[in-house]
Amino acid sequence: MTENVERHRYDVVVIGAGGAGLRAAIEARLAGKRTAIISKSLFGKAHTVMAEGGAAAAMGNVNPNDNWMVHFRDTMRGGKFLNNFRMAELHAKEAPARVWELETYGALFDRTKDGKISQRNFGGHEYPRLAHVGDRTGLELIRTLQQKVVSLQQEDKAEYGDYEARIRVFAETTITELLLTDGKIAGAVGYTRESGKLLLFEAPAIVLATGGVGKSYKVTSNSWEYTGDGHALALRAGATLINMEFLQFHPTGMVWPPSVRGILVTESVRGDGGVLRNTDGKRFMFDYVPDVFRHQYAETEAEADRWYTDQANNRRPPELLPRDEVARAINAEVKAGRGTPAGGVYLDVSSRLPADVILKKLPSMYHQFKELADVDITKQPMEVGPTCHYVMGGVEVDADTAATSVPGLFAAGEVSGGMHGSNRLGGNSLSDLLVFGKRAGEYAAKYTDALGEARPEVRKSDVDAAIETTLAPLTRAQAGVGENPYDVWHDLQSVMQDLVGIIRRKHELEEAIKTLAELRPRVASVQAGGTSRRFNPGWHLALDLRNMLVVSECTAKAALEREESRGGHTREDFPAMDPKWRQINLVCSLEGGEVKLTRKPVPTMRRDLLELFDKSELKKYMTPEELADLSTKE
């Protein structure tokens, strides 16, 4: 191959520059490793900026009764007990320290009266728990981590005379293939958007922190970067994915105007008093409280309204039920003909709070609706409906080390699986990416230490093959063969939106799997839609497409296999949660280019953690055999 490739050597390469990636990179650099950050966009633009509500951490600043055990319990309940318990435990224990650490990097959270970090209520959290900055917490997080990376670069500049001596950001760079030698990570190949130049990274440890998969759906809150790159890279490298059937559809995305369909309206609109009404004007959530939650939620509007000012003596409003319940309720109302013409329901805060309070509490929301839709949320209701928001499933990792089954490959943040089980609580993703981002960076550094001098060498034939794959869409464009990538993408989105959406059915999933298989040859022969290598979005999409396809196949296959409804997976033909299925994780791997699905038992929770729950509550999740087993051990 005559192709010119720019070579780089690092100890740790972090793919992804959102919260998890930056936190991992900071940790690896603090451990003294030469670290590269691969950012698909410009530095500081990652999808983390979109997180609004906050970072969940049981600091107990607002309610001193809060602690890690309560947080752990809430997380397991939210995930319907399918979570990797060890991840949920580490997350609940370490989140406060990770949030406090951000203050030492310069973060400025909203404050309590006594000057501590303020914490707000959020769906599924028993106490006010989310550290926040108005409704732009994600921006604060990414900027803080970005500025911490810069401060480390300044230290290196002072010490070595070079900002990039030990930590460098490769902006607008995409990794297309991971390279393995003798089954271990040896490096990665990618390209940079600015020039189309190809890059080879030689590194023994790689952290995947690429976020989610939402761009496979038509209606999504996710940005263009969310094409399942890390999921697909992991599969192709021989790692496994779990829980891919669980996708979170955020209950309240904007449905009007159409151009911003999918963009989400933070849950804090409901936490601060916003209510959901159908077109009859009815506050319908009272009709959708499932039995498992019955005793925790208000039964009358009067009680629900008292809760905002007196939480000790009243139960929560049903608008604050976990996200999947709210999403399903809205879906049911729309299907019953009580939705708006655009296919949503009304979320109203204007009749509930004075305009100045809305402006203070929800400034970005106000701003967003005013500018994008010319809707004044202090004067009129919003029009909202479910939007594809978050994938619970992801790369199967070891809880403590964030290591995948491939030596040298780690994963953290949305791209990893297990932490959130079948459904994620709002606020748990920002804390997740801090806790496991740090762990991934720490253990990637330790892994390189353990390797010592015995670093796997990149094989030239692998590099050549990766380059050929990367350039193939351009080669086809030059030859004038292959389809327009946008057409294939839109077809893929239609399949996922229509057949693997929020409510799933057997025959639709079977049709989806068949249609996705038919898309495979089209994706494999797609062209760039232009021959230029310099910032050519058609080329970028053509490469992202194969990632979207393989990840979509995992989701469709796992959704067909799991014959129950749980969290972010709802089967119309199996509407109930089945305790037998709680014991099973569905694991995806790639064999000969085909997605293979296997069943694997969910790890059994430690006894001390089980004892945090009432026996009566465990009954909702566990099989009679498991419960009997529990009793005998008592």
Partner: protein
């Protein structure tokens, strides 16, 4: 649905031209939607940056009918269907391709500004700050780094020669944010802004504030207070003594040359009052005093230019 006429600049650093497109526009769409439709139907390789499409990430900065704006925040309903919409890249930064420019200048300036200095003696979790004391810095932390302010600022727009010495409005608010941070341990933020960031170049034409999509009061709340403090400090005897005791390189780590052509203080040792109070005290807006947007279609054009220092850092 209506057909709109668009002119979009296409090309790279070697040159280019405005290309004409007729494209369908649906109710409720924004300019970025239209660009996406063009990519999907007429120009698959049309280069544009974007991420969140919700005005939160600051990626899709461009000049629409001559005015620096975010593509995702510009509603099509604000245009007349008969109107030609002209889109050009940000003029202050070198073009890479089509609507994408090389904004590395900003990342370089970000690196030259000393980071938050944690207060000694306070462990994580021990930070205590009043909301009223963090409000001011929080306003500046709303910044989404779209760099529209940097692009608009006439100190560097069409003045490549000022770039080495001038950090620009985005980094003046960063300096102000740290200056006003209740627990930042550094005390030389204002000095640094004056000596190393080229704060003095700014003559408060408020163009930056005008284009800020986050409506941050860049001039009133950051630049003017920083300028006033610089004046105060220069003549504060203790600070004066500090300046005598410490070398300049101890006051600030970065090695950028100081602003040569910065406005000087008057004979009384004060900044001219009119500069701090007048709405448009200094030079005219980069667009000219009496320019009204949108600019007439035939007056908008774009010429790529090369940076003065082609070896400047890129990532």
């Amino acid at each position: 649905m209506a057909l709109h006429h668009f002119r979009i600049w296409r090309g790279d650093g070697d040159g280019g031209a405005l290309a004409d497109f007729d494209v369908e526009v649906n109710e409720g769409e924004v300019v970025l939607d239209v660009i996406h439709r063009l990519q999907a139907t007429q120009a698959p390789d049309l280069a544009v940056r974007w991420n969140c499409k919700a005005g939160k990430c600051g990626s899709c900065s461009m000049e629409i009918n001559g005015k620096p704006r975010l593509g995702c925040m510009t509603r099509m309903s604000t245009f007349d269907p008969a109107e030609t919409i002209t889109i050009t890249p940000l003029r202050t930064f070198p073009v890479i391709r089509d609507l994408v420019t090389d904004v590395s200048y900003n990342y370089q300036k970000a690196r030259e500004l000393p980071a938050f200095a944690p207060p000694p003696g306070l462990a994580p979790g021990e930070y205590r700050m009043k909301q009223v004391d963090v409000d001011r810095s929080q306003e500046f932390r709303k910044c989404i780094e779209c760099y529209l302010c940097q692009n608009t600022c006439h100190v560097v727009r069409d003045h490549e020669e000022n770039k080495p010495a001038f950090a620009g409005p985005r980094f003046f608010i960063r300096a102000a944010e740290l200056d006003m941070h209740p627990l930042d341990a550094r005390t030389d933020r204002k000095e640094f802004a004056k000596e190393e960031q080229g704060l003095g170049y700014c003559n408060i034409t408020k163009c930056c504030t005008e284009v800020c999509p986050e409506h941050i009061h860049i001039t009133d709340n950051a630049i003017i207070p920083m300028k006033e403090r610089v004046v105060d400090n220069r003549y504060d005897p203790l600070v004066w003594l500090g300046r005598k005791i410490f070398r300049r390189d101890q006051l600030a780590a970065a090695s950028v040359p100081g602003p040569g052509a910065a406005p000087t203080l008057d004979q009384d040792g004060r900044m001219p009052v009119r500069e701090a109070t007048f709405d448009k005290a200094g030079a005219a807006s980069p667009f000219g005093e009496d320019v009204k947007f949108p600019l007439p279609t035939d007056e908008i054009d774009y010429q790529p230019h090369q940076p003065i220092d082609p070896g400047s850092e890129k990532h």
